[in-house]
Amino acid sequence: MLKINNLHVKLEEEDKQILNGLSLEVPAGQVHAIMGPNGSGKSTLSYVLSGRDGYEVTEGGATLDGRDLLAMEPEERAAAGLFLAFQYPVEIPGVGNMTFLRTAVNAQRKARGEEELSSGEFLKLVRAKAKDLQIDADMLKRPVNVGFSGGEKKRNEILQMAMLEPRMCIMDETDSGLDVDAMRLVADGVNALRSADRSFLVITHYQRLLNHIQPDVVHILSNGRIIKTGGPELALQVEEEGYGDILSEAG
């Protein structure tokens, strides 16, 4: 599904290399976790894949289902099935959460040549999905992320994910700022979305989220490259020993 090949990325504004030949492949139906210390390039990876301005790809590439991801506009990537759950979801004053969701869902449907959802169909769908995530009607009416608590913001991201039904979900430190209960809710939401043709790339600093979302593969990112790949036990090792040993092992 997602293939990243020898990706080199630098910041556009300053001459600073962030990713140095990152390669990674996430097959359909799998959950991969990327762990790494601060400054290893985790967030850059998620932004580059979703098409945020400010980064320059100097070498390598990435494809989604064989399509050149980096050649597409952010909205085209979304329509192609890519979704990024933001570490810091953005507030949009005055725009109702429901309006935002419907605009997004219909924009993607339109881009894919599908019929737009009517208000009635949409409402039914969003209410059902919101209920699973314990998002109440009030939160759907409030402006996007404005005045939301940390937990509400992250649940809202998962609601968007559930509504947009992407094929490839990238979760950028979704666990940051969540208490245990909120994390369980988010994890349950994600687990409910797991399926044979949907993949996840879970970017996280800590192992604890991976207790709730069981990964198939764990990668350790350092200095802009994957330095070690293993099973779920690798995450446990990081939790117990920190990154030190793995980093020195990789030289």
């Binding site: 301005d53 329509a79 953005v90 725009v95």
Partner: protein, 506 residues
């Protein structure tokens, strides 16, 4: 009527025009070349004023009223204090009267009506039956009415084309008709109120309007009557080099209520077109008027060529106790906008509200705002202004809040927000505040912000394209004002916001 955009008329109408002017005997210059079209000759002078008056079959007092205005106008000079930059307007190079092809031959069905005309009606959300009536389709009046009711008066260039739902309104005692008709049929009302809010000598543009206004809408809601439907006027400038000068007079008698919508469009022209309208609203004791405008005059192209020069005087007089007015405007069009819908809060406890969205893109310039003149005790006013600038546009909010010595315990709250898209546009806020008593309170809040890249990226990462994303963010910025609009208009306004900002990013 079917070829309304194409004024190559040589039917009865222009012969009549020729005769009228010939009978007056003084204006002949340039006449023959101009007669090919159904225009009065270019320029303005006393004869043109008389011609317009005569065309509308006005009584003598009205002709004199106009001439009085004209004589004042020639002594006045154009105001230049606004933050607007435009070349001098040659007032003698405009047509002051243009009339669509004679409506003698009526289309049999909607199929025969100019599709662009119907499309414009449709865009304004005018139901089919009213479209038929407005387009002059035979037998339209007998067609059963649809569920939603908005009575519509349409003014093309200088002439009112027709008003719908007249009978039903008449049953409620509401008069809604072209002002030309009101001058003939209801002279006592017109005499009493015309110019009582915006006097003939008010300002350069209003005075010009007083002299040459050709038509417009007239509304009278009798005491205690809640107008059974929303009233709507649709203005369109069609003909080239034609100024449009419509005049609207609304009178809400004691304890009455009316909601009035105004929509404006104009076709694309390379040359600038002049629009100088006057709207007067008189509100008596306990009455309430809501006046909503979606102004979508042609703004000119991306290089600033063409577009409407919009110089409009709108004023409501809350003449008696507890009178209430609410102005809501969405200004997306015009190359130049000079417009300050104002409230005179004369009666005790009178209330004025002003909600405005002004969008300026490309080379558009807008200098708009409101005046809240507090004269009575315990009067209240509220101003919410949202200015959006994109491209190389300049957007100025200019507002006056004035608390007179007798307006004790009065209050005003003003909120002025500006949003910038791109780095070549400008937003300016010029509030004037005068408080002449010690018990009144005036609050002013202003913010300026830029459309945030993070917001746009967030929207785009969810599948919206850049323009959709900008429209969404901007609509969010305008929400308080959009909510003040009647439902149908709010939808129209939202999509207009999106259209106006097309090409403003990237």
């Amino acid at each position: 009527m079917t070829e309304i955009t194409d004024l190559d008329v040589r039917d009865g109408v222009d012969r009549e025009t020729v005769e009228t002017v010939q009978n007056m005997g003084s204006y002949k210059y340039g006449w023959n070349t101009e007669i090919e079209m159904d225009f009065a000759p270019k320029g303005v002078n006393e004869d043109i004023v008389r011609l317009i008056s005569q065309k509308n079959e006005e009584p003598e007092w009205m002709t004199e009223w106009r001439l009085d205005a004209y004589r004042r106008w020639v002594t006045m000079s154009e105001p230049r204090w606004a933050m607007l930059n435009y070349p001098d307007i040659d007032y003698q190079d405009q047509y002051y009267y243009a009339r669509p092809k004679s409506m003698e031959v009526k289309p049999k069905s909607l199929d025969e009506v100019d599709p662009t005309l119907l499309a414009t009606y449709e865009k304004l959300g005018i139901p089919l039956k009213e479209q038929m009536i407005l387009a002059g389709v035979e037998g339209a009046e007998e067609t059963p009415a649809e569920a939603r009711k908005v009575a519509v008066d349409a003014v093309f260039d200088s002439v009112s084309l027709g008003t719908t739902f007249k009978d039903e309104l008449a049953k409620a005692g509401v008069i809604f008709c072209p002002i030309s008709e009101a001058i003939r049929e209801h002279p006592e009302l017109v005499k009493k109120y015309l110019g009582s809010v915006v006097p003939q000598s008010d300002n350069f543009f209003a005075t010009l309007n007083s002299a040459v206004f050709s038509d417009g809408s007239f509304v009278y809601v009798p005491p205690g009557v809640r107008c059974p439907m929303e009233l709507s006027t649709y203005f369109r400038i069609n003909a080239e080099n034609t100024g449009q000068f419509e005049r609207t007079l609304i009178i809400a008698d004691k304890g009455s209520y009316v909601s009035y919508l105004e929509g404006c469009t104009a076709p694309k022209r390379d040359t600038h077109q002049l629009h100088a309208a006057v709207v007067e609203i008189v509100i008596l004791e306990d009455a309430e008027v809501k006046y909503s405008t979606v102004q979508n005059w042609y703004p000119g192209d991306e290089e600033g060529k063409g577009g409407i020069y919009n110089f409009v005087t709108k004023r409501a007089d809350c003449r008696e106790a507890r009178a209430k007015v609410m102005w809501t405007q969405v200004e997306t069009g015009s190359a130049i906008t000079w417009k300050y819908p104002s409230c005179i809060l004369r009666g005790e406890e009178a209330q004025g509200e002003f909600y405005s969205i002004a969008i300026a893109n490309n080379f558009q310039q807008a200098d708009t705002g409101t005046k809240m003149i507090h004269l009575g005790r315990n009067t209240r006013s509220r101003i919410v202004s949202k200015g959006i600038s994109a491209g190389q546009a300049q957007n100025t909010y200019r507002g006056l809040v004035s608390m007179h010595p007798r307006a004790t315990n009065s209050r005003n709250y003003t909120q002025c927000d500006s949003l910038l898209i791109g780095d070549k546009c400008g937003a300016h806020t010029v509030p004037y505040i005068e408080v002449k008593n010690t018990s009144s309170r005036v609050e002013h809040e202003a913010t300026t912000s830029k459309v945030d890249d993070d917001q746009l990226f967030y929207c785009r990462s969810r599948g919206m394209d850049e323009e959709e994303a900008v429209a969404l963010v901007v609509n969010g910025f305008c929400r308080e004002v959009l909510q003040a609009l009647p439902m149908e208009f709010a939808m129209e306004a939202q999509s207009l916001v999106a259209i106006s900002l097309e090409g403003s990013v990237g």
